[in-house]
C-alpha cells in the first residue's frame, strides 16, 4: 500500500502539514482504509516510543555507577565558577523603610551619575577611536576589553581616590559600595583562578572580562558619587 499520502503520514502526526494539506489528507483517510490503518499503527508506535522515557525513570538504573564516576571526578580539577555577583543595590521592593528609601535615592543618584559618565566617556572614547583610525568611522572601543595593565592601573588609582574620599559618603552608601566591591573582587579573583587552571576556555575568558568590567564600572560610579575625579 502506497499512495501520495503515505509519506506524509508522519508529517501529519507531527503537526507539520499546512492547513490545506491536513484537510486534504484527513479527507483522503476517510476513503482510504490502507492509509487510515497505517496512520493508526504509526500513532501507536509514536505513543509507545514516548512512553519509554517514563519507563526508564520507573525502572531506574540497575547498576550504581556513582562510585566509579566519583573516583574519576576526583582526578579532574574543579572548574570553579564564581559565586553569583550580588547586584550592587536591590531593585525589587514592595514596601520601603526609611533606610530603604534612602538606599533608593542613592541608587537613583548612582544611575544618574552612571548615565552622565557613560554619555561623557563614551563620546570621548569614540572620539579617540576615530582619531586613531584617521577619522574613519569605527566601532567604539569597549571600556575593558581585557584585564589589561591600563585597566589594572585605573582600578588601583580609583581605589586610592575612593579610599581618600570615604568620609564624603554616607555610611550606609559606603557600606553598600564596599559590599558590592568585595563581591565583585571575589568574583574577579575566582574567575582569574579558574582561568589559570584552564587558560583556553573561552567562557572563562569572557567571564573574567565581564567581572573586571563590572569592577571598573562600580569603582567609577563610586568615585563619581564621592565627588568625581579631580
Amino acid at each position: 500500500m502506497t499512495d501520495r499520502w503515505t509519506d506524509r503520514l508522519s508529517d501529519y502526526l507531527d503537526d507539520a502539514l499546512s492547513t490545506s494539506d491536513r484537510r486534504e489528507l484527513e479527507s483522503h483517510i476517510r476513503d482510504c482504509g490502507d492509509c487510515a490503518a497505517a496512520l493508526e499503527d504509526l500513532r501507536a508506535i509514536v505513543a509507545s516510543a514516548r512512553a519509554l522515557a517514563a519507563r526508564d525513570v520507573e525502572r531506574g538504573m540497575e547498576t550504581d555507577l556513582w562510585p566509579e564516576i566519583e573516583a574519576r571526578l576526583r582526578d579532574i580539577p574543579v572548574r570553579a565558577v564564581p559565586e553569583p555577583v550580588r547586584e550592587p543595590w536591590p531593585v525589587h521592593r514592595l514596601s520601603f523603610s526609611m533606610a530603604q528609601l534612602a538606599a533608593a535615592c542613592v541608587a537613583v543618584l548612582l544611575l544618574s551619575a552612571t548615565a552622565v559618565w557613560f554619555a561623557h566617556d563614551w563620546g570621548r572614547r569614540e572620539t579617540l577611536a576615530r582619531s586613531a583610525a584617521g577619522g574613519g568611522l569605527i566601532t567604539a572601543v569597549p571600556a575593558t576589553s581585557a584585564p589589561a595593565e591600563a585597566a589594572q592601573n585605573e582600578i588601583a588609582s580609583l581605589k586610592r581616590v575612593l579610599d581618600e574620599r570615604r568620609d564624603r559618603l554616607d555610611p550606609s552608601t559606603l557600606r553598600a559600595i564596599e559590599e558590592s566591591l568585595a563581591a565583585v573582587e571575589a568574583a574577579v579573583e575566582q574567575a582569574r583562578l579558574a582561568l589559570e587552571a584552564d587558560p583556553d576556555d573561552p567562557y572563562l575568558v569572557a567571564h573574567l572580562e565581564e567581572m573586571a568590567s563590572r569592577q571598573l564600572t562600580l569603582l567609577r560610579r563610586a568615585v563619581d558619587l564621592a565627588g568625581g575625579a579631580e
Binding site: 509519506d7 503520514l9 508522519s10 508529517d11 502526526l13 507531527d14 503537526d15 507539520a16 497505517a38 493508526e40 499503527d41 504509526l42 500513532r43 501507536a44 508506535i45 509514536v46 505513543a47 509507545s48 516510543a49 514516548r50 519509554l52 522515557a53 519507563r55 526508564d56 525513570v57 525502572r59 531506574g60 538504573m61 547498576t63 555507577l65 556513582w66 566509579e68 564516576i69 566519583e70 574519576r72 571526578l73 576526583r74 579532574i76 574543579v78 572548574r79 570553579a80 565558577v81 559565586e83 553569583p84 579558574a194 567562557y203 572563562l204
Partner: protein, 184 residues
Amino acid sequence: MTPPTTLVAPVRSGAEAEDVSRAQRGDLRAFERLYRAHVARVGGLVRRMMGMEHSLDVTQDIFVRVWQKIGTFRGESAFGTWLHRVAVNVILQKRASLRTERERFLSDEIALETAPARGRTDARDFDVERAIARLPQGARTVFILHDVEGFTHEEIGVFLGVTAGTSKAQLHRARMILRDHLTR
C-alpha cells in the same frame, strides 16, 4: 500530534537549581544528587543509541563530561535539557570513534528485513524497544532523538550534521520499518 515538550522529568523546583549552582562550585555531593536524578533517563538514551555493550562506560563518560562542562551551563534551558544535549554529543562522538557516523547514516542497510518474523501484534503491546534496537542506525538515531527524547528535527540536524529534511525522512523511514515489523 506534537513532539513531547519535556526531555526529562520536570525541573525539580529550586532544589535542582541549587544543586546545579553548588556543583558548579565543585560540590560533589550536589553533583551526585544531579546524577541520581537523571541517570535513569540518560542510561536509557545510551542503551538505545549504543546498545548494551557500551552503555555503562558511555553513561559514566557522559557524567564526567557534564562535570567538566557544568560551569558553562548558564540556565538558558532546563538543566535536564542541557544535560541531554551533552549526552547526545558524547554518544555521537563515541559512535564516531567506532565507525564513521555519517557514512552509516546515509548508507546503512535495513536490518529488520532479516529479523525474525512474528505474528500480527497489537501496536500497544508491540515490543518497540526490541524493534528499535534492530533499526538501521541512521533511522534508529533519529527515531530515538525525536520520538523518545523529544528533540526537534532542527536540533537533530545540528547533532548529526544533516538537514532537518533528512532527519524527517529518516524518522518516517524508521516508523514505517517498525510498522512493517509490526504487521508481519
